[in-house]
């Protein structure tokens, strides 16, 4: 039964909502553990049950290898985000918080497996509507309210633009099914195709926070509860890429690729460069991570432009490598800000003495993001640059390499604060709840394993993108 994980997610969310009513206040901490371990269990189930046969689940949903690959990413992101939330102020003991997270998860899973335009649009909305609420969840905090509203306004506009693109595809082809639309579009003229492709591209660029549709990200990440920001920057971004891969490669015929390819490669270069340059000057940890996550979307776009299986697999692998590293970085920020009450980078001072474990995990995470071995980011960047050179896009690899140097600068600056700056006053040991410990340990281990034992994961990424080339 291909949709079993989705069904279980739905039941898990309902269970949490139900328990929220029954459990007394002090026991509600169980809800977070339930959400985290429930997601993890579903992840294990999905991994063991997936046969990659690409079975139809319904006329509009197809759980192929691409969908199951990304589903695993989302589940991992949700499990870690739930673990991070347990000890968060205002969010940790709220049943509706976890239920919203899981409903959003469900939407993300459907996004990755949608094979129909209407289904895709509905799935995207299903994923983002709970996120608008989650971003503004801290009702007492005006920045959180601002984040929720901003995300809603930008997101709704982007969705509207994307739907307009979808409606154009339907208008030109009379089909809502992606495969049927793809066949019909083969006969369409170039102007028609580009008119339809541009709005879709713009809408999805918003989801992955690519330049010039990135403006929302820093404000939203800064204001939203940290676990939500972590979820937005990893799982939701990955879902955007899943749809981007499917729509651009499977729907629009290869003849248009040189046009949108040129556009996307410029977008990739601009996203990397702008994200990294702006990340360099940030004083707030969450804003820094927001700009860095913008930059990472730029790197991941490189693989998309290559249009060959190696490059797309490199993008998928990059997202896989980026996910645990970014989650770990956000976990450390959440940990420190829970203790210090602020998200300034300066709050990281003295981390290596206050909690050596968190400092080492942060080191692994940031070095992985910077593309340093033996962590996952090294191989991931290498594959992207290699695929770009292979596809005769060496200039993108050059831009990416130059950006890696800039990125290394600001990641090192952060590590410098964590390892070198003395903590103001007494270097009190950091309160380190078990949930964050598990999340951080798992992410750091994943970053290291993916960086050394590379081949099976890259093969999985390769298998994931294969359906895009079968049509």
């Amino acid at each position: 039964m291909p949709l079993l994980p989705e069904l279980l997610l739905f039941l898990l969310a309902l269970l949490i909502l139900g328990l929220d009513l029954i459990l007394p206040e002090r026991r509600r901490v169980l809800l977070g553990w339930l959400a985290a371990f429930g997601s993890a269990a579903i992840l294990l189930l999905a991994l063991t049950a997936a046969d990659g046969s690409g079975g139809w689940a319904a006329a509009t949903l197809r759980v192929d290898s691409l969908a199951s690959f990304f589903r695993a990413l989302f589940l991992l992101g949700a499990a870690v985000a739930a673990l991070m939330s347990i000890d968060g102020r205002e969010v940790g003991r709220r049943g509706e918080y976890y239920a919203l997270l899981l409903f959003s998860m469900l939407g993300l899973c459907l996004m990755a497996s949608a094979s129909d335009l209407v289904m895709m649009a509905l799935a995207i909305e299903m994923a983002t509507l709970p996120l608008y609420v989650l971003a503004g969840f801290l009702r007492g905090d005006s920045r959180s309210t601002e984040a929720g509203l901003k995300y809603f306004l930008f997101g709704a506009t982007a969705s509207a633009v994307m739907w307009y693109g979808f409606s154009l595809i339907y208008g030109f082809t009379g089909q809502t099914d992606l495969a049927a639309a793809a066949i019909a579009l083969k006969q369409a003229g170039l102007p028609v195709l580009l008119t339809a492709a541009l709005p879709v591209l713009a809408g999805l660029a918003f989801k992955v926070s690519a330049v010039p549709f990135h403006f929302w990200a820093p404000d939203v990440y800064e204001g939203a509860p940290t676990p939500v920001a972590a979820f937005l920057s990893t799982a939701v971004k990955a879902a955007g890429f899943a749809v981007l891969l499917r729509v651009l490669l499977a729907v629009f015929p290869p003849a248009t690729a040189s046009y949108w390819g040129a556009l996307v490669s410029v977008m990739a270069a601009a996203t990397m460069t702008l994200g990294n340059l702006l990340a360099m000057v940030q004083k707030n940890a969450k804003r820094m991570l927001a700009y860095s996550s913008i930059a990472h979307a730029g790197y991941a776009l490189i693989g998309l432009v290559t249009l060959n299986p190696d490059g797309l697999a490199a993008t998928a692998f990059y997202l896989l490598a980026y996910l645990p590293a970014n989650l770990a970085a956000f976990s450390v920020v959440a940990l420190v800000s829970n203790a210090a009450g602020g998200d300034d980078l300066a709050a990281l001072a003295g981390l290596s003495r206050r909690s050596p474990f968190a400092a080492i995990a942060l080191l692994a995470a940031l070095l992985s993001l910077a593309g340093m071995p033996p962590f996952a980011g090294f191989a991931a960047k290498w594959f992207l640059f290699a695929s770009a050179v292979e596809a005769r896009l060496a200039w993108l690899a050059v831009v990416g390499a130059a950006n890696s140097v800039i990125a290394l600068y600001y990641y090192l600056s952060v590590l410098k604060i964590a390892f070198l700056s003395p903590a103001g006053g007494e270097p009190a040991p950091l309160p380190f709840p078990a949930a964050v410990r598990i999340a951080l340990g798992a992410c750091a281990a994943a970053v290291l394993i993916l960086g050394v034992w590379i081949s099976p994961w890259f093969e999985a990424a390769l298998a994931a993108v294969r359906p895009l080339f079968s049509g």
């Binding site: 292979e390 390499a401 410098k416 590379i454």
Partner: protein, 490 residues
Amino acid sequence: MTSFPLLSLLVFLPIASALALFLFPAGSRRAIRWFALAVSAASLALSAAAYLAYDLPAGGYQLEEYLEWIPRWGIGYHVGVNGISLPLVLLTGIVMFTGVLISRGIDERPREFFAFLFLLAGGVFGVFVSLDLFLLFFFYEIAVFPMYLLIALWGWPKTREYAAMKLTLYLFLGSMVALIGALVLVFSTTPATFDLIRLEAAGFPADLQRTVFPFVFLGFAVLGGLFPFHNWSPDGHVAAPTAVSMFHAGVLMKLGAFAALRVGILLLPEGARFHMPWILILALVNVLYGAFIAMVQTDFKYVIGFSSVSHMGLVMLGFATLNSDGLLGASLQMFSHGVMTALFFAVVGMVYDRTHTREISALGGLARKMPLAALAFIVGALASMGMPGFSGFVAEFPVFLGVWQTRPAAAVAAAVGIVVTAAYILLVVRRVFFGAMSAEHDRIVSGIRVKDSIALILLMCILIGMGVYPAWIATLAESGVQSVMRVLGN
């Protein structure tokens, strides 16, 4: 193929020990120091075992190991050594052992210090034995990064943050430039492979070689300290704690030169021939500029820092000749300079620990208080001047021979560098170790410890042993050079 994975053991012993160090409680300094010493001694023994296991008459790559790693990209875990890399492996073992021996002064977080130092050592061993391009870059970055923390955390407080950041960014930028060049190269072959031996045999088209060569060679030569990309190195040397300076100047700069040879010249012989004239000029600038700048330094450690730039210029000069004499000289110079500069930095560290100053004008008469250190420094000085009977002569003579064969004028100019070297190094010897000693130093300066003496004696013995009986290292280097000459086609 050997059944015993000697080289893997050599690479992974330091890395595993780096992780194992975190099992020690942070407070148990004594245990940590002894464990570190044991690991470094074992690494030295393993590198010596590799030296002894190498079958010289057979030549070529030996002790090879191969494992599939990422088959989709043609990437394998492929290691092996030949006559070029084996002396450097041995050098790394020597510097690692002596560096740990003299590191008693690290009082702040010794556990983390040795962990990062071993990680660095593992990366360095890894680069020297890599026969796969991906693996080479993998270890190269592992070797570069711990440097940042080692300098930033344990370095000289005044400049450490600046120097550490400058060094890391310079080297990372260089490696990125080299990476792009290497990728362009790899994807001009079908099917793409990252195996260096197969790439060596690929025979890339001449214009591709000419285009790619500057990127690959210069990208790595940044770490080799080639002018005008040497700027990170004196600052880095000076800011680093003693053991790290020894590693840094002794081994890490060789890493750059080695990779420039391994990936630049060996894969792109035609590119090398085409571009060598101007690289020869840059190397010449290195030799002269480094020597003249060293002459006017007032800081003891900066003198040695710039002397490294000057001596690495001789390595590059040897490369630039592309003939067997020059390459042999370059290969020997890498080994000789590694040992020599490790000795210099060890002595500088000992002097600084006791006098708390590195201003040459404030020092003097130290030979009375620490005679062995003075003797060691003088041996190093004689080696660095290229005095017969010391390693420097054995290394520098073939370089000059090689340069004379291609560009006699360059040989004459480079000889000026040797004269200047003699001038500044003897000046330093006289001012620091002889003459009058300030009353305050007379009171506070103590003799050196046993472990320090062992390290200095070992380094001195190698410098003199190589000068008196060079065959033990020169025959090995010669077999390596022959393999390079075969690739160069003459």
